[in-house]
């Protein structure tokens, strides 16, 4: 099946989209989201358990042999878009990244032990590839692995770990004497300190991890950390692009609804051309961001040769569009949009934060130049 044949949403994907939209609209209205953000965990564990168990999305891309649904990036991105639209604060995305890392590392025993638990929601996971500058480079991993009697021990620090506080397992690339490898660390391991980072995005928490001789399990035979990270990063880029398209759709609905209803000078502000054109620009951003996210997800699912480039393009353009549209929504709302009480700033925060976490525009542009062959 070619990419072209898969670009339109299938009936199953539409159903998945509608089910999630309904679930999140009913269970995560603004008041619920706000109270989750004020809680210690930053999300509702009850709601997260229901999302995983009732809708079965925990194991979306986990193969059926390991208790998942065995679906592709294309379906996963439908879910990411809906969760992005609702600013879902639970550890869904980091769990997907941990599963992707386990699968890519190809450690059968670790997969058998952990993937079914990630799929059924009895465990949560995350990945910790970033150093203090945020970049993911296996060769310059901020964590070192040392082979000690009784097993591997990790030393160092990693940063910007999504849902680091909530994770039961953390997949960490670490430099070893031979070659960098991927390691699995369990929460509560001796020597592991998890410190929440004060962050811009109130709906997605990050932590800094300090490793002081933390016992860790080498995944597979080691040595291909770069290849594993590339696959995990691809999933991260695709998810970020899909989440952006979901967030953009929320901001567009908000801005257009307000422009229709809000009256000034005795008429709806949407009848002013300057306002109407802003709204049309927001629709253009939605159309292109959603299409790019979809194309990139399908290209990855199909193993197309331009999949890596498409993922970068989708992350770059989706990220820029999200920032622009979230800012435009606040502007359309006027003073109301600048209040703490209105949810618009939560999207604005997510837009900026997600773009930086995924590497930032400069890194994407540089990668696109490389991948396009310049």
């Amino acid at each position: 099946m070619t990419i072209r044949d898969r670009l339109a949403l299938t009936d199953d994907e539409r159903m998945l989209q509608a089910t999630l939209r309904e679930f999140l609209t009913a269970r995560l209205p603004s008041a619920e989201l706000r109270s989750a953000l004020d809680s210690d965990a930053g999300y509702s564990m009850t709601l997260h358990a229901r999302l995983i168990s009732e809708l079965g999305v925990g194991g979306l891309t986990i193969p059926e042999d390991f208790g998942g649904l065995g679906l592709s990036q294309a379906e996963a991105c439908v879910v990411h878009a809906e969760l992005g639209r609702a600013l879902y604060p639970g550890p869904f995305l980091p769990g997907c990244l941990a599963a992707a890392a386990l699968l890519a590392a190809g450690d059968l025993a670790a997969c058998q032990e952990w993937l079914p638990r990630l799929a059924d929601g009895s465990a949560t996971g995350t990945v910790a590839p970033a150093g203090e500058n945020g970049s993911w480079q296996a060769g310059r991993a901020p964590v070192q692995a040392e082979k000690a009697p009784g097993g591997w021990r990790l030393h160092g620090r990693s940063w910007f770990v999504l849902s680091g506080q909530a994770a039961d397992i953390i997949i960490v690339p670490a430099a070893a004497a031979s070659a960098p490898g991927m390691f699995l660390v369990e929460s509560g391991a001796p020597g592991l300190a998890v410190t929440p980072m004060t962050g811009l995005d109130l709906t997605r928490r990050a932590a800094a991890l300090a490793f002081d001789a933390v016992p860790a399990r080498l995944l597979g035979r080691g040595g291909d950390a770069a290849g594993v990270l590339e696959q995990v990063e691809r999933h991260f880029l695709l998810a970020t692009a899909a989440e952006a398209s979901g967030g953009i759709s929320w901001c567009l609905d908000l801005g257009v609804g307000y422009a229709r209803d809000r009256e000034q000078f005795g008429r709806p502000i949407g009848s002013f051309q300057a306002v109407a054109h802003q709204c049309a620009d927001m629709l253009a951003d939605l159309q292109s961001a959603a299409a790019a996210a979809r194309y990139a997800a399908v290209a990855s699912a199909a193993g197309s040769e331009d999949a890596a480039l498409a993922a970068r393009v989708a992350a770059l353009r989706g990220g820029e569009s999200y920032r622009r549209v979230a800012e435009a929504a606040i502007h359309l709302l006027g003073g109301v949009g600048f209040t703490w009480e209105h949810d618009a700033h939560l999207y604005y925060r997510r837009a900026w934060s997600a773009q930086q976490l995924a590497g930032g525009p400069q890194a994407h542009r540089a990668a696109i130049a490389d991948l396009a062959g310049l």
Binding site: S271, R317, R365
Partner: protein, 404 residues
């Protein structure tokens, strides 16, 4: 009768093409090599008038051949002379033709991409049976007579008048920005036919471009070339049988035609392999020895991302359309994206080339880029300005109220 399987249809079509035309030899992909061939990167077709006129007979013969063998209008309804096959067959055939050296339909974008579909939608059964075979077989070529000096964005304000004269109408007025008027046999014209209310006072006709009283003059645009014409109509007689749709329905005919125009522009070859090819842009950077310059790499990455997203958007929309969920008026956003990308392209070329962009050193592939910067403003105007398209989208897609 059921359709032949697509594979059978294509096998026959391929045999037919192979018997008549040379293979393109490179799988249909025009491979770009920096420094080889013509370095033109024109964004408006500005063919030499003599060469253009010389090419026309071959284009007409090509259409005639297609028509005579059932490939002229593959997805057209049989009642109007089409082959009555699904649109997928037409698309597959079109892809197949790219593998052969055929004259192609580039000169017929208006005729077949805009006017013919408008006739199909608004013409009477008799008009469809008469005109559509003529257009698809290349015996007649059509142009579009809409804009006037006093009616640009406000197209409904056209003042070219058509007055009834028994079984005929008499048309007097001036049209402008008409592509291909000098080649066309007929023109789809919007005229004012009554003093009635706006949008209800217009009527569409098909006018014979060679009728007495029709004068066509080339219009030289700021690029220096002439892609368009001015058309003067002085008491031109048109039979009532050439009226398209009912009297007073001209605005609907115009909207239909314009929607096909925006579609055609958003999907034009410009977004494809031609001047936007990544290979050409890479060649440009290498020619300026800037491939290691981090700023150039950043600008290149930014430009490529915009060009790719435009392509992805069109591909996703095309897939949705095939799945029966065709995009509506929002396709006009593709045209806006295209204009923006043209500006970006000009800016990128300027950054890479420096003064070699504005004065000709004679080096291949350098000064040629002035065509892009000179053509870019035109793309924001043609087929509806950015502002008019955004108004339409705000009101008719997003449901925002009209300005009062």
């Amino acid at each position: 009768m059921s359709d032949p399987p697509l594979e059978d249809f294509l096998r026959q079509a391929e045999g037919w093409l192979a018997a008549r035309y040379l293979a393109a030899g490179d799988g249909g992909q025009r491979r770009f090599t920096w420094g080889e061939g013509d370095d033109e990167v024109r964004v408006f077709q500005e063919p030499d008038p003599v060469a253009e006129a010389d090419a026309l007979p071959a284009i007409r013969r090509w259409r005639r051949e297609l028509w005579d063998h059932g490939y002229g209008w593959i997805d057209g309804p049989a009642a109007c002379g089409g082959a009555g096959l699904p649109a997928a067959y037409a698309r597959a055939f079109e892809r197949l033709t790219r593998r052969y050296r055929v004259p192609g339909d580039a000169a017929l974008t208006v005729s077949l991409g805009m006017i013919a579909p408008a006739i199909l939608r608004h013409g009477s059964p008799g008009q469809r049976r008469h005109w559509l075979p003529l257009l698809y077989s290349g015996q007649q070529i059509a142009c579009q007579l809409f804009s006037e000096p006093g009616a640009g964005s406000d197209l409904a304000a056209v003042s070219t008048r058509a007055t009834r004269d028994g079984d005929a109408w008499r048309i007097t007025g001036q049209k402008v920005w008409t592509s291909g008027a000098h080649l066309a046999d007929i023109g789809e014209i919007i005229c004012r036919t009554s003093g009635g209310p706006r949008h209800h006072n217009l009527t569409a006709f098909l006018v014979d471009m060679r009728a007495p009283g029709v004068t066509v003059r080339p219009l030289r645009q700021m690029t220096g070339g002439a892609s368009f014409n001015e058309v003067f109509l002085d008491d031109v007689a048109v039979a009532d049988a050439c009226r398209l749709d009912e009297e007073g329905r001209g605005w609907q005919v115009a909207l239909t035609t314009l929607s096909f125009e925006r579609n055609a522009m958003g999907h034009s070859a410009f977004g494809g392999a031609g001047i936007l090819s990544t290979a050409r842009l890479i060649g440009l950077v290498h020619a300026a020895a800037k491939q290691a310059d981090p700023v150039t790499r950043q600008e290149f990455g930014e430009l490529i991302s915009h060009l790719r997203v435009a392509r992805y958007t069109q591909e996703v929309q095309a897939a949705q359309a095939r799945a029966g969920d065709a995009p509506g008026l929002e396709v006009a956003l593709n045209k806006i994206a295209l204009s923006e990308n043209m500006k970006r392209l000009a800016g990128f070329a300027a950054g890479v080339l420096g003064p070699a962009l504005i004065a000709d050193t004679g080096a291949w592939g350098t000064y040629a880029w002035t065509s892009v910067l000179l053509g870019a403003p035109g793309y924001r105007l043609g087929g509806g300005t950015d502002e008019i398209l955004k108004n339409t989208i705000a009101q008719r897609v997003l449901g925002l109220p009209r300005a009062t």
